[in-house]
């Protein structure tokens, strides 16, 4: 797959505060990329730069081969965006909300029903957007972002504040878009979301990327103990080194049926982030 999004040395400051400080990213087409960081880390600022809503102070950023500082209306049609503060027309129905954008993009009315069906809002087509639950509002925003069938989706904390069921529904929609070959740029401060959805992630802290890779790679990288924790059927716990030396003992425990559960000591992303920054991701 070609590189869908690329940034080189992006720097952005607001007044004396540097929000992004030398961001380098290469995001392949067709993958879900997660940008993780606590509130105020600069995630939304980076999305705004990549979508042409803000201009960086220095560095370059590309969507495909197009410099994001030179994006045109036709380029905007290639990507869908949902941001938490992007509003809906509360008094208009879900259908009317999408109808406005179908008219703007010159899309047939069938695109509205298709988009509503894709996010499971067909039954709520006539419901005013202001009367939707938070989860349904999130799905309607996704439907609006999907309408032009964009190549790239920028989703800024799409499950923020949602209950687990609604979040799961949005995860399903995001994964189905990936299955269709779409590139997804996702920001989140939820570690489980990143682990569930993302092929690659970057951990952002105070404007800098402090770690990059697949969630598994990153967690393995910070597995300093390299141990296996085994819970035995007699209720005891034991630890074995996570290498070939433990193979015989481990094999014996499994064959004899004494090993009830086996876990590696890999940290989760939250722990890795804490180790790198001394902060919690969800802070």
């Amino acid at each position: 797959m070609n590189c869908a999004i690329r940034t080189e040395g992006i720097v952005k400051s607001f007044g004396s505060r540097t929000v992004l400080d030398g961001i380098d990213l290469d995001i392949k087409g067709g993958e879900i990329f997660g940008l993780l960081g606590p509130s105020g880390a600069g995630k939304t600022t980076l999305i705004k730069i990549l979508t042409g809503q803000l201009t960086q102070d220095s560095g370059t950023s590309y969507i495909g081969r197009k410099d994001t500082r030179k994006l045109t209306g036709a380029d905007h049609k290639r990507f869908g965006i949902t941001m938490d503060n992007f509003g809906l027309y509360d008094r208009l129905s879900c259908y009317e909300n999408l109808l406005t954008f179908a008219r703007i993009h010159g899309l047939p009315k069938s695109s509205i029903t298709d988009a509503l069906a894709k996010v499971g809002l067909s039954d709520a087509a006539k419901t005013p957007a202001g009367k939707l639950s938070k989860g349904m509002t999130g799905r309607l925003k996704l439907a609006r972002a999907f309408m032009t069938d964009p190549d790239i989706l920028f989703l800024d904390e799409p499950t923020s504040g949602l209950d687990p069921v609604s979040a799961d529904e949005i995860h399903r929609i995001i994964l189905s878009e990936k299955a269709r070959g779409k590139t997804v740029f996702l920001t989140t401060h939820t570690m489980t979301e990143a682990e569930k959805l993302c092929g690659h992630i970057a951990l952002l802290n105070e404007g800098k990327i402090v770690e990059y890779g697949s969630p598994e790679e990153i967690c393995r990288r910070y597995d300093h103990q390299r141990m296996l924790k085994i819970h035995l059927s007699d209720g005891r716990d034991m630890e074995l080194p996570h290498n070939s030396d433990a193979a015989a003992a481990l094999s014996e425990l499994i064959v004899s049926g004494r090993a009830e559960t086996i876990h590696t000591t890999e940290p989760d992303l939250e722990t890795v982030f804490m180790e790198l920054t001394g902060k919690e991701l969800s802070a």
Partner: protein, 230 residues
């Protein structure tokens, strides 16, 4: 053009659901029908209420609606979504402006019918009302662009709207107010409407209205350059 139409139709869909805007479009046209039919005073000029309410309508409805619509879109960040969908600021403003103009045209039709205007008088009345609607729309757009949310817009709109709507009526009772009101377009519109079929269009009215237009355009340009539509 399709973006202007999309914005126009979006506003049209919202009309019956947006009571703030609907009441502005409907209040004076309804009031004029009621008052012209229910209130008959001795020595009252013919179609008195049609003339006075028409000016109040022009000073209030387009101004309030433009500022309310723009401020709401800014507050709820729907305007940013439109901009990200390749709707140009000028297209948005023309779309909203055309919507407000069309809705006010219905009101103008009511005033024209109740006021009994026909032929050349009708054409002049429609022309005067149209000029007033455009000027008030520009003033409302200045407030909408300048305000970051609806509360700010309302707090600015109310006194401005009161000046343009009520000065022509108040100037009937006080010469000092009348002298001060002469520099406002709404007072000149009032004099033009009162003069239909009676006197020629005065140069003073044309000059004041033109100066008001230039000031409104200048203020809009300044507000837009300073605040944009974000």
């Amino acid at each position: 053009m399709k973006n202007i139409i999309a914005v126009f139709l979006k506003q049209l869909s919202d009309t019956l659901k947006n009571k703030t805007v609907l009441i502005q479009f409907a209040m004076f046209p309804v009031l004029v029908i009621v008052f012209e039919n229910a209130v008959k005073l001795e020595d009252m000029p013919e179609h008195f209420f049609a003339r006075i309410f028409a000016v109040m309508f022009v000073g209030m409805a387009p101004l309030t609606c433009m500022s309310a619509i723009i401020a709401e879109e800014k507050e709820k960040n729907t305007l940013r979504v439109l901009m990200m969908s390749n709707v140009k600021p000028a297209e948005y403003l023309v779309g909203v402006g055309a919507y407000v103009f069309v809705m006010c045209a219905f009101g103008t039709a009511v005033f024209a019918a109740v006021g009994g205007y026909t032929g050349a008088d009708l054409a002049l009345f429609v022309g005067v009302m149209s000029a007033g609607i455009i000027l008030s729309e520009l003033t409302g757009a200045v407030i909408g662009v300048f305000s970051s949310n609806q509360m700010t817009a309302t707090s600015i709109t109310v006194p401005v709207m009161a000046i343009f709507s009520f000065l022509p009526m108040l100037s009937m009772f006080n010469d000092t107010i009348k002298a001060a009101a002469r520099v406002t377009y709404s007072q000149q519109l009032s004099e033009l409407i009162n003069g239909i079929g009676v006197s020629e269009i005065s140069a003073e009215s044309m000059i004041v209205i033109s100066v008001n237009l230039v000031i409104a355009v200048a203020l809009f340009t300044m507000a837009y350059r300073k605040k944009g539509l974000e």
